[in-house]
Subunit: 81 residues, 5 copies
């Protein structure tokens, strides 16, 4: 999984069927790239999150057989290194 | 998912079976790379889109068991950061 | 999918079972990297092609349950940007 | 698979359902990037490990249909080059 | 698939269940990165090989439902460019 920060929302009125109403968040990952993820845990802007990519995103509730490839799976409270 | 801009079309008369008639769009992603995606939402050149990659593309209508790995899943109206 | 140019063949007498006789082409992708793909459409050296990667390659005829991760799915006639 | 070093833990009180209680480790891979992985083998901080990514992570015990994309699959004792 | 050279072995006494006894080879890919792969074809150190990544690795004999994401699928005899 990747570590990233939720930096915004992306609005898309025209979406693929089954994704209507689905919120898409913009994530900035640790290597400075941006990606878009669905959010089944309710993360807010500015929060650090864990993101699962690939087929993992389709295991999320309501996303089975939906064309999504990234999902927030946890909101980070802290890291110990 | 990735954010990208539709920058053109790619023409391929000779395609793998089952992909005949399928339109392929050229997308420029935010890191400056080009990729090709199928488009089930009807995006046009110059539009910013959300692209799902990997197995997600095969969940799109008519793409089940087709060799595609990227699909446009939304047309971006705006981003709030 | 990726855009690339077929630049050669790779010969491998010793292959995993089920891949004997399978032709492998060397592709140079747009970012200058080389990859190897199976070719169900009959592309030739010097041709520009569309390549699908990941599980998509296993949807190709005769490749079900075979360890391949890239397949040529179209021969490019032209691009309009 | 990738080679990496376990460099820490990431704490996330709010996780996707089914991942509660799941420990997430921070791995630094050989190219200097950080990733997060589940750990079914019991690796400790400072240990070099082998990490499997993608759908492979969901084959791990208790991770079936869970949104995870990286798992530690071995603790490295040594490398011979 | 990727082209790489087998450069060594990685030893891991503690492995995920079902991978005990499985040999892991270290591969240096053409872009200079190292990866670890299972080897169902019997490649030796110094040999150039073709590597399939992702779910493809789990189609290999005995690797079904095992957490592996890379497998050597051919030993390269030559390349013609």
């Amino acid at each position: 999984m990747l570590i990233g920060e939720v930096i915004g929302n992306v609005w898309a009125t025209k979406k693929y069927e089954g994704l209507e109403g689905q919120k898409f968040l913009i994530i900035k990952t640790e290597d400075g790239k941006r990606m878009v993820a669905v959010d089944p845990v309710g993360a807010g802007i500015g929060e650090m999150v864990i993101i699962a990519t690939g087929g993992a995103a389709r295991t999320v509730y309501n996303m089975k057989d939906r064309p999504v490839d990234a999902a927030i799976i946890g909101i980070i409270d802290g890291m110990e290194e």
